[in-house]
């Protein structure tokens, strides 16, 4: 599958050490357009809509901010911890900068032990605008099935 220059540049920016030390691709060395195409199918299979999912995850991120660095329980269903550090990260598509804000969301209850999602403000931008959920093995990979289980969709 051929990639436009915009995607080719983004793929380069996603390499480790360009924007973040560990990059956005994890162990996935495929062209990002292939990753995106496959994830669009997997999102559909999981019954998730990119826009709605992004909105829900953003609500949880913002709810986590209320904890000012400490975890908070949101709606009795999720334990959310939002960490902030000073500064910004640029989008690999070079279409904006985003606060350095990481969120970990874990559903409450022993039956969900080990289940969690980790994402940043930039992750949400990549999900909503580019349908890019990051490569497999990236610590910030948003696995469609994991999102479905964490959000309880």
């Amino acid at each position: 599958m051929k990639m436009s220059p915009e995607y080719q540049k983004a793929q380069k920016n996603m390499e480790p050490g360009v924007i973040t030390a560990s990059g956005f691709l994890g162990d996935d060395h495929r062209p990002i357009i292939e990753i995106i195409t496959e994830d669009e199918e997997r999102m559909a299979q999981a019954g998730l809509d990119f826009e709605e999912t992004g909105e829900r995850l953003r609500e949880l991120l913002m709810a986590g901010r209320r904890g000012m660095g400490e975890p908070v329980t949101v709606e009795g269903k999720w334990l959310v911890k939002t960490d902030e550090t000073r500064g910004y990260l640029a989008s690999p598509f070079e279409d904006g900068i985003f606060r350095k804000m990481n969120t970990v969301v874990e559903p409450v209850g022993p039956e969900h032990k080990g289940l969690r999602l980790m994402y940043s403000e930039l992750s949400l931008h990549l999900l909503e605008k580019w349908h890019f959920l990051q490569g497999k093995g990236s610590p910030f990979r948003l696995e469609p099935d994991t999102m479905r289980r964490v959000l309880g969709v």
Partner: protein, 374 residues
């Protein structure tokens, strides 16, 4: 057909590739060789003869001039600003988010984004000349909570001088996919009088390069580098009541300040209120030590608060978000008559929220101090 014929095409391609690689290498050597350049610091105060081609932040560090950088030179914290008196080209898009109009006019630049191609004049604060790189050995690592470690570093014969409240840049080696050494800024939690040691409280940030290394790989006996001291977060010499607020590893500078306070009589000179927020009791630490200070010194008041105490525990302290507890104390329990100074350590969100509460309670914004690297 000659049986070796199938080798010809790959060999030709390999030969062409090798030729091209050599050509690129030679071109790079000559075209991108900027030779030696001179960095003139503070109009002749210091002149450095350095090799051109690398970024200014790294080149200065290699010459022993350490510009503060919370992100280790990735252009994502905006800390490494210097005033450039020479033409080094227009501001880059990566610099713009961190510069206001006035700074742009003054040609303030992010030193990590400036490639040294020719002689250049810069201006930096003189105190940066005293910042050094220290090599130490990790003497002990202690779990304070499930996600905060206390790391105590022995500097050997080397001595360090810093003000309680300042920070250092903790450097970790490459690991896994991280191909280069990485630095992050953390407040020192040790007493300044303990001149052969530095201590840090490091909280695990999921996905964080340095915190992950510290929590999963750092071992006692390991050698590490620390650059510092940096920062203007320290106790001002006044008699105003100190209102200190922290959460999590934001405890670090206050530990340093309070233990220095025991030595220099700070607790006899002024009232100090210390608000420390955590979610549950398992996120609290140093409780016994701080309660001991509270009972020993009449003018020191320690207010730990839990935002979500677990049911069934006998937590006797305050409950609620630390900002709610702070607001309540400023309105009900702390004299409104005496002048106050705010001292904050935490995330940008926490700083904003606490500053808002302090302003609402008539504390002057210019008397609220915090480190900007958080």
């Amino acid at each position: 057909m000659d049986p070796t014929a199938f080798l010809v095409a790959p060999l030709v391609i390999a030969g062409m590739s090798a030729g091209l690689a050599a050509l690129i290498s030679i071109t790079d050597r000559y075209v991108n060789d900027y030779g030696d350049v001179v960095i003139d610091i503070n109009q002749g105060s210091k002149k450095l003869d350095v090799k051109g081609g690398a970024n200014m932040l790294v080149t200065l560090a290699e010459s022993g001039i350490y510009i503060p950088s919370a992100c280790g030179g990735r252009g994502s914290c905006g800390e490494c600003k210097v005033k450039v008196n020479s033409d080094v080209g227009p501001h880059l898009p990566t610099e713009l988010p961190y510069l206001d109009e006035k700074q742009m006019e003054q040609n303030i630049r992010l030193s990590c984004q400036i490639k040294l191609k020719a002689d250049v004049g810069i201006e930096v604060p003189e105190y940066l000349f005293n910042i050094k790189k220290y090599s130490g050995t990790v003497e002990s690592i202690r779990d304070l909570t499930h996600d905060i470690k206390e790391v105590y570093v022995n500097l050997g014969d080397e001595e360090v001088s810093f003000r309680a409240g300042q920070y250092g840049q903790f450097e970790v080696p490459p690991y896994d996919k991280i191909k280069e050494r990485t630095q992050r800024a953390y407040s020192m939690s040790s007493k300044p009088s303990d001149k052969n040691h530095l201590e840090f409280l490091i909280r695990l940030v999921p996905g964080g390069i340095v915190t992950t290394y510290v929590h999963e790989r750092l071992k006692e006996g390991e050698k590490i580098n620390i650059v510092g001291p940096f920062g203007d977060f320290y106790v001002r010499d006044t008699e105003a009541t100190m209102i200190c607020v922290a959460g999590g590893s934001g405890m670090a500078p206050f530990k340093s300040i309070f233990y220095q306070g025991v030595e220099n009589g700070l607790f006899e000179k002024r009232d100090i209120w210390y608000f420390f927020g955590a979610r549950t009791e398992k996120d609290m630490f140093y409780l016994d030590e701080l309660r001991e200070l509270d009972s020993k010194y009449e003018r020191f008041h320690f207010v730990p608060a839990l935002s979500e105490p677990e049911p069934g525990t006998d937590w006797q302290g305050a409950t609620g978000l630390i900002t709610e507890v702070l607001d309540n104390y400023l309105k009900e329990k702390i004299s409104t008559e005496t002048p106050k100074e705010g001292y904050l350590c935490g995330s940008p969100g926490m700083l904003d929220a606490c500053m808002s509460v302090m302003r609402d309670n008539d504390m002057a914004e210019e008397a609220i101090y915090f480190d900007k690297f958080a």
